[in-house]
């Protein structure tokens, strides 16, 4: 049994990807700029999250029981990147769906 945050940090990206592939079908994953956005977002997550979780005086602390214990880079729990990917991807999916709806409304 993985720790609870570890399990959630794996389940959330899977759920968001499944939502696109099975339901929304916006085509987001076929866009290069989506993948570039994800790469940029995860790159900026490192300084931001690194500061929030910094060793010594963390702003956010994690229970050892809830995480795998793998921290990379610096003191960031590896799980946070699953959380970040899911947050950013869900946002872009819903934004794109809004855009497509508006196009249908304007031109359909």
């Amino acid at each position: 049994m993985p720790a609870e945050y570890t399990a959630a940090a794996i389940a959330a990206p899977v759920a968001v990807v499944a939502m696109e592939l099975l339901a929304l079908r916006t085509g987001l994953f076929r866009e290069a700029r989506y993948w570039i956005t994800v790469a940029i977002a995860l790159a900026f997550q490192i300084p931001v999250d690194g500061w929030l979780t910094r060793a010594g005086r963390p702003i956010v602390q994690y229970s050892g029981d809830a995480v795998s214990g793998i921290r990379f880079p610096w003191n960031i729990p590896i799980e946070d990147f699953g959380f970040g990917f899911a947050l950013v991807t869900l946002t872009l999916l819903l934004w794109r769906r809004q855009t497509q709806r508006a196009k249908v409304r304007d031109h359909g």
């Binding site: 609870e4 945050y5 959630a8 959330a12 700029r33 989506y34 570039i36 956005t37 940029i40 977002a41 900026f44 931001v48 500061w51 929030l52 005086r57 963390p58 702003i59 956010v60 602390q61 994690y62 229970s63 809830a66 995480v67 970040g84 947050l87 950013v88 869900l90 946002t91 872009l92 819903l94 934004w95 809004q98 855009t99 508006a102």
Partner: protein, 100 residues
């Protein structure tokens, strides 16, 4: 100064990405209705995750490093995080769309 630690990080994120809207031409803040419709479900889903995780003590916040304004068991900074980080991602995505 300590209590501005977390909110300061969020302010920096907003400041750094603002030129994407103001200079590069991404249209995110200028589509407030679309932005709100996108962010509402995101905030609800991630706030529920956050509230449950905080209740189950998966994580907690340094009381000295947040402003001290709490809403439904979360520091106000967490709520702002769920608005700021998605907005930064949308600005990046839209800025990349402008460049093509």
């Amino acid at each position: 100064m300590d209590r501005w630690q977390y909110i300061g990080v969020l302010a920096a994120c907003v400041a750094i990405t603002l030129p994407l809207e103001a200079v590069v031409g991404a249209r995110v803040y200028r589509q407030p209705a679309r932005l709100a419709a996108t962010l509402l479900p995101v905030v609800v889903i991630f706030a529920v995750w956050d509230i449950v995780a905080a209740r189950r003590a998966h994580w907690w916040w340094s009381p000295e490093q947040v402003t001290g304004v709490w809403l439904l068991g979360l520091p106000i900074e967490e709520w702002l995080f769920f608005l700021v980080v998605p907005a930064c991602a949308l600005l990046t995505y839209e800025a990349l769309g402008r460049a093509r």
